[in-house]
């Protein structure tokens, strides 16, 4: 694994991708903090007599993925491509350069391929989660809010139906999924969503890695995770199964109705099984060093 980490750190694309992710997060935070200040001012002016309404306008709603800010949505749109870029074509490149054969005669074939698969999954997971956590810290730092007990208390009252609001307060704050976590702390809610997103990011990258055994065009290999993500979005949208689409499911805002816990598990399992199946098929296809 250390060799893989060294290769990963020596790759320029790693730093380019990290910069792109951090830039997107930075822009999302910058726009989000501005929007938060505006919304807080308006709410204090309009609903200043209703403490619950003011408490519900919380900075955590401007963490990356939580807000309507363009760059926040864009992060969730483009992540399968960017988190996969440094790792998805590693086998393809090593095969093209001949390094694959050089390594295979020096180590167990199964260990090599297993290591590649696990490493791709972990790297994509980390690349997805770390910028989001940095975004979370930046928003808290810029708004000076680290304790969300006012929000959780107001949200608890909202769920119980005892909160007192003015007429203009939107009730869209109420979440269908993981609502209990949000009642405890927005940190828990965000972490769960970021972890699930990270798992999916890993699965998309592993699918791309598996596809690299069968696709000869490097450009296409790099785009496989995004193609799968957007392809699923298109097909699930046309089939009107919005709650089953990772594009909607992974979004912490919960933008569609009828979301359930089961699709999270089923989609992920299907995706991973598909990736593993293709990977095993690809590894067997490349069993012979002269293949």
């Amino acid at each position: 694994m250390i060799i893989e980490i060294r290769k990963f750190l020596k790759n320029n694309i790693t730093y380019i991708c990290l910069c792109m992710l951090l830039l997107t997060v930075g822009l999302a935070v910058w726009s989000g903090v501005g929007m938060f200040q505006n919304e807080l001012d308006v709410t204090k002016r309009v609903n200043g007599n209703f403490p619950d309404a003011v408490a519900l306008v919380s900075p955590h709603q401007y963490w990356v993925g939580f807000s309507e800010v363009f760059f926040s949505s864009f992060y969730y749109f483009i992540f399968p491509l960017i988190v996969a870029l440094p790792v998805v074509d590693t086998i393809y490149r090593e095969k093209a350069s001949g390094s694959l054969n050089y390594q295979l005669v020096r180590m167990n074939r199964r260990t090599y391929y297993l290591r590649k698969f696990v490493f791709t999954f972990l790297v994509s997971f980390v690349l997805f989660v770390i910028p989001l956590l940095i975004g979370m810290l930046l928003v808290n730092l810029l708004t000076g809010t680290w304790n969300f007990s006012d929000f959780t208390a107001a949200y608890d009252r909202l769920v119980r139906g005892t909160a007192v609001f003015g007429d203009s307060t939107s009730l869209t704050h109420k979440k269908e999924l993981f609502s209990d976590l949000l009642r405890r702390s927005p940190y828990l809610y965000a972490l769960v969503y970021y972890l699930i997103g990270g798992l999916y990011a890993g699965a998309y990258s592993c699918f791309g890695l598996s596809a690299s055994f069968f696709i000869r065009n490097r450009y296409l290999v790099l785009f496989t995770p995004l193609c799968l993500y957007l392809g699923c979005w298109l097909i699930f949208t046309l089939l009107q199964l919005l709650a089953w689409d990772p594009f909607n499911m992974l979004d912490p805002r919960q933008p569609v109705m009828g979301l359930r816990y089961l699709p999270f598990i089923i989609d992920f399992c299907v995706l991973m099984m598909l990736a593993v199946f293709l990977y095993v098929l690809g590894v067997n296809k490349n069993r012979d060093i002269l293949a």
Binding site: N12, F70, S73, R93, Y219, L234, L238
Partner: protein, 224 residues
């Protein structure tokens, strides 16, 4: 010296190398149309062919698909490409020509398969020929503009990053200024919009020719 007539020949020579993938990409369009026309209320509710075609979102479907189709071609620095030319300008012209032909193929496929599915599902084809040709022209020009933008960006940052930039720009436009949707949905100002798009395309073409003068085609960089 190559002539203009060589550009389609070169293009189809290159296309032969990736024909299977291009067929898969192009076949995705009618399949998605059929799925939409059979199962999706929003697509079924389209009153005109223009609305039917645009019910599949431009920024999430047509644009990434076209960029993918363009990006799969060989890089200009690949020796099988570079050996054809004697001057830098020729390479730039060939790249521009490839975008024009790719866009034409893509547009024709979108429109023809769309009309086929639209009519076979029993939608009344209420559009007249003038309105349809306006839409086809604007769609083609928009696709060409995005393609040239991609080519220009790929000369600086490589194909993958250029793809991300082009897709991001179209998505950004959709959620901010909405220029592309404005052009595609507009039914009354085709001539001025087409004129503006042609000017932008000519400008981008000039930029690509200028970029080719300073570009190092001999660098072996497989990173992008």
């Amino acid at each position: 010296m190559i002539s203009w007539l060589d550009i389609p020949r070169f293009y189809f020579q290159d296309l032969k190398l990736i024909k299977k993938t291009v067929i898969v990409i192009l076949c995705a369009i009618p399949i998605i149309y059929i799925l939409g026309a059979s199962l999706n209320d929003f697509v079924q509710a389209a009153q005109t062919f223009r609305r039917f075609a645009l019910s599949l979102r431009f920024e999430f479907f047509y644009c990434p698909l076209f960029i993918l189709m363009l990006g799969m071609h060989n890089k200009p620095s690949d020796w099988i490409i570079i050996r054809r030319f004697t001057r830098r300008g020729e390479m730039a012209l060939c790249e521009i020509g490839s975008v024009l032909i790719s866009a034409l193929l893509f547009t024709l496929f979108v429109i023809l398969s769309g009309i086929l599915v639209y009519c076979s599902y029993g939608y009344p084809f209420s559009e007249n020929l003038a309105s349809l040709s306006d839409f086809v022209l604007l769609f083609y020009l928009v696709i060409v503009m995005i393609g040239l933008l991609f080519v220009s960006a790929s000369a600086v940052v490589g194909r993958v990053l250029a793809s991300i930039a082009a897709i991001a720009l179209v998505v950004l436009d959709r959620f901010t200024a909405a220029i592309v949707p404005l052009i595609l949905y507009d039914e009354n100002n085709t001539a001025p919009l087409a004129a503006i798009l042609v000017v932008v395309i000519v400008l981008l073409s000039c930029i690509i020719v200028m970029q080719s003068n300073g570009k190092d085609y001999y660098v072996r960089n497989d990173r992008h």
